[in-house]
Amino acid sequence: MSTTTSQQPKSGVSIRDLCIHFDGHEVIQGLNLEIHEGEFLVLLGPSGCGKSTLLHSIAGLTDFESIAEGTVKIAGQDMTFADPSERGIGMVFQSYALYPTMTVEKNMSFGLRVAGCPKDEVQRRVQRVAAMLQLEPLLQRKPGQLSGGQRQRVAIGRALVREAAVLLFDEPLSNLDAKLRAELRRELKLLHKNLGSTMIYVTHDQVEAMTLASRIVVMKGGVIQQIGAPTEVYERPANLFVAGFLGAPGMNLVPGQLSVSASGEVGLSGALSADLAAYPFQQQPRDRQAVLLGIRPEHVRLDPQGAWRGVVHLIEPMGNHQVVWIQCGAQLLAAIVEDHVQLQPDQALSFQLDLARASLFDQASEQRL
């Protein structure tokens, strides 16, 4: 027993061929995912993409009858149909889900008391977590007397007191205002750095995903679209959906057609013409292939010597930078420009595209080339 657990990852989560049906509707379709010990994995996607269902199936909170196929292993043990309390997990919910009739202290210690933990041990663990999250002055208060941010800190504390190897977060910051959200985001990141426990975090907020994750899993329609480090998912989206989901303003997508010369040089024609010598193709381009050129606004640079010309359509000042919308033929391009550059609407300008960092997608398959 002890030898098998030492060989297995101590707190990794392994999901194999998971299929979940609700009323005959397939919510998760044959999903495979390895979550490494100590990693901060973010499940990112629009609502209804199955990310919450996936998290709930790890927690054991889905109706077991809806699991049509597959296994969920936590720390090497098959937990597919285990009771939530037996899985060695802690969970934080969007609506805090604090027990309203209990004090903060009782909220945090409820799980330990249920498990029959000795009193002094309960006391010790609650004190330790309360100190970590600066909850000591609030211990005797009821949840109704706390602010939103305090409530979510208590909910995090309740999950931590269990000293579970795997912590699950279901959109924990979505009910907070922007300033508090940024503050708690940093606290969570620091917490992960200090504790080193495995964290699985569901969100539809790309900023949370980018800032927190060691790896991001982008989901759509119950299927994983891409798994990768935040920068990888941002810079090299695997398909059109991932490209569109990350980034604000979104990636510029320009339709065009490839031309492959006899010597193998690839060019793009269409709304923007370009030489694609710098582009790192993963797939062999075909001549006359219909594609979309995806280029992030920060990779559109204003440059008097630039190869492309356009007219300023609209300017959105953001304080530390400005988003300039450039009319380029029929195509509208967003560009991120430093705030000190003076521009007027209808002003003509030239710009440069950083094609080495662009993305090309096949129009039919929507996959990255």
Partner: protein
Amino acid sequence: MSHSAVMMKTQAERRAQARGRFNPARWGIYAFLLTAALFFLAPLYIMLVTSFKTMEEIRLGQLFALPMNATLEPWRAAWSEVCTGVSCEGISAGFWNSVAIVVPSTILPVLIGALNGYALSFWRPRGAHVLFGILMLGAFIPVQVMIYPLVKVMAAVGLYSSLPGIVAVHLIFSMPVMTLLFRNYYSAIPPELFKAARIDGGGFWRIFVQLMLPMSTPIIVVAAIMQVTGVWNDYILGLVFAGREHLPMTVQLNNVINTTTGERLYNVNMAATILTSMVPLLVYFVSGRWFVRGIAAGAVKG
């Protein structure tokens, strides 16, 4: 332009309405409310004054007059002397019978209704919807239809004409409304709360007792008020199922008033009636706000 003019006018009107409290419409409303209040209070007034009069004074026929020589004698007689059928020990025996019926017939339905609502809302057993549907259907079937079969059932299990029997009958008939009340209350509680308790290792009973019941105080009060007033005012079930030893106060009151031998003692009858309605009256006065809530909650069933 014309639109904003209309807006201005209505705003000005509203302001005038707020200033001049007593315009004709308001007078009309108050006149109606006053009439309605008098209409419903007049019988209570007549009952009260009559109950303090002697029989000689009642024979004068001055229905609305205050008692000339107010006396508590009719109240004493109603409580401890008046004949209810064969025995003449007053209505107090019926009072204690009713108390003995009401207490368990409130505690049990409230607890079991809460348990039903909890199980239906959070554990969702297989077929929960069908079960709940059947239960609700039960609420629409008139009580009279079930009396005869229920008498047979009670007799078969040996509970007919007994205190546990009448309590069981009240429990059965209260289940749809009690379950509905608690199910609606619990369905407004975020399911995440239940999920958090599941992760913390809470089982069926622990989550119910330690988490859900402490959160249910408002609905428990509403449910208890509905049960207390409903069971206290019950006549037909008590008459049929309670047995002669446990006849509730309402049935005893009927026996007092319908006694045909000798002079009809209006003052004693009035006192007995007021005594019988004392418990629901007290409940209304003490908990008016809660009671209205209970009616509103019960109205959901349509």
